[in-house]
Symmetry: C2
Subunit: 114 residues, 2 copies
DNA sequence: TCAATAGTTCTGATGTTCCGAACTATGGTG
DNA sequence: CACCATAGTTCGGAACATCAGAACTATTGA
């Protein structure tokens, strides 16, 4: 398997970040990876709320996050470890990820529409 | 023409904001509306960079921004006036819009890929 | 070598986006 | 009022994106 593509921090584009995080499920996956610092994905993040994400979808979501520059993925044996690149992104776009994650955390705490 | 739908600030969802602003063209339109405070759209914002947005696309973009809660649109005679709802959103999601607009402004100042 | 585990790619159904053409709404002029 | 011009919306089809099941690949362990 060829090494996975990761954009350098200079190549990271705001539209890619916003697109990646405009899906609440993907945002939740990213929040979990960021919170844990290093998570054994994808199985470890496969449940969001009360939904189990199909593994093909999860694989796709992880790819979107990776290609947006939000996470770094490394194979360790049979599994993938996903690290948040929060720190790097914070250096380039100060406050961006924190305010996005806070916004989602805020609405998650509210009664909600469902 | 029935009055346009505007979500109340409590109904505004982060995913809608991120989705709306994940298109750089739409983000530029929003930045222009926010910068001007009140812009006679849609014609006034129809040129982004060196591209003139077709009016059906522009109408759609304005609608996406409006339904995301980012702008408020009022008909004044034959034209529409678009106001940014930055202030309201700032109260609900502090720092969110500022960091997004800063991120775009930052990459706009860079040499760029093209 | 074979099985198990973890994740990726393929594929087709469903949904979204884009934009020209046709349409609607408002205001001005005679 | 009839008519035109202006500003924006809606329609419709082509192009593109997303979702998830099935089939596949890669790695480890027995």
């Amino acid at each position: 398997m060829r090494p996975l593509f990761h954009p350098s921090v200079e190549e990271v584009r705001p539209e890619a970040i916003l697109h990646a995080l405009s899906d609440p499920e993907r945002a939740a996956i990213f929040a979990e990876i960021s919170g844990a610092g290093c998570v054994q994905a994808c199985s470890a993040v496969a449940v969001v709320g009360d939904r189990t994400i199909p593994k093909s979808s999860l694989s796709h979501d992880i790819k979107v996050l990776r290609e947006a520059g939000l996470i770094r993925c490394e194979r360790h044996g049979v599994e993938m470890r996903n690290h948040s690149r929060c720190g790097e992104i914070e250096g380039r776009f100060p406050g961006l990820l924190a305010s996005i994650l806070s916004a989602y955390a805020l609405v998650a705490r509210e009664p909600g529409v469902g």
